[in-house]
């Protein structure tokens, strides 16, 4: 009697667990489309074209653990002398999982003195952020940072 009861409870819990898992799948698919790594790659290709993107020279400062994804301070700096012949043309920032892969494009010039920009961004999820710099010789340099977000931005309801 007792064993029968235990089995049925176990079976019941097992069934409940599997239905919960099944139920979770539609919820995930109903969520707004996220930028996928493929969209990230496309967005990057739109900026750099066929040119190779090398790792280095760029520094991306973002807190590794973010409590509120609605406003995340971000600083991008590039190691560059910023002279008339060797300067940073532009800095492009991308993300992996917001609804849109672009974050911002920032265009500097030799007169900037220092290749550094700061702004505040939104992050819809824990994800990778990529910063790419275009130098005056049209070479591209990049870096990426992984950020953990506890409260996501963008998709909450308007009250």
């Amino acid at each position: 009697m007792r064993t029968l009861e235990q089995t049925s409870r176990r079976r019941f819990l097992g069934l409940a667990g599997s239905t919960a898992v099944l139920g979770a799948i539609p919820i995930v698919t109903v969520r707004p489309a996220e930028a996928t790594p493929a969209m990230l790659a496309t967005a990057i290709r739109n900026v750099v074209g066929e040119a190779p993107v090398r790792i280095g020279k760029v520094k991306l400062d973002v807190p590794p653990l973010v409590e509120n994804g609605n406003t995340v301070p971000m600083t991008v700096s590039v190691q560059n002398p910023m002279t008339a012949n060797d300067y940073v043309k532009s800095i492009h920032v991308f993300n992996e999982k917001n609804p849109q892969p672009n974050v911002g494009n920032f265009y500097l010039g030799p007169h900037a003195g220092r290749a550094q920009i700061s702004t505040r961004i939104r992050l819809a999820d824990s994800q990778k952020i990529v910063a790419i710099a275009r130098l005056s010789d049209d070479s591209f340099w990049s870096t990426s940072v992984d950020v953990v977000v506890t409260l996501a931005a963008c998709t909450e309801e308007v009250i």
Binding site: N70, N98, P99, G109, R120, V158
Partner: protein
């Protein structure tokens, strides 16, 4: 309604690298949020920001919905001569705002 906060040093030495901080008050509605009834809130963001130093463009930026509300942007430039910085923000729904700041270069 819209208002800008600009931080430019009042005076600088010739050739000095100065930091310019700008903040424009704006909701930066992403276009990805829904009301309780399920309607999408239409996108309303600032899409472009330009800074000119004595009429010459020294910095511009394309902004996307991933920029937080009240866009805060800082960047650097070399103080070459006394004059004026003009800032311009352009966005959705005909949003256009300007601001300016002057600098004395010694």
């Amino acid at each position: 309604m819209a208002s800008a906060l600009i931080n430019v040093p009042k005076r600088a030495k010739r050739g000095e690298i100065i930091e310019i901080k700008t903040l424009m008050s704006h909701i930066m509605e992403t276009g990805y949020r829904h009301t309780a009834t399920g309607e999408v809130v239409p996108r309303d963001i600032i899409t472009s920001f330009v800074c000119r130093y004595n009429g010459v463009e020294i910095f511009h930026a394309d902004l996307f919905p991933a920029i937080a509300a009240n866009p805060f942007i800082t960047f650097f430039t070399v103080a070459t001569e006394s004059g004026k910085f003009d800032f311009e923000w352009i966005g959705d729904k005909g949003f256009a705002e300007t601001a300016s700041a002057s600098i004395l270069v010694e």
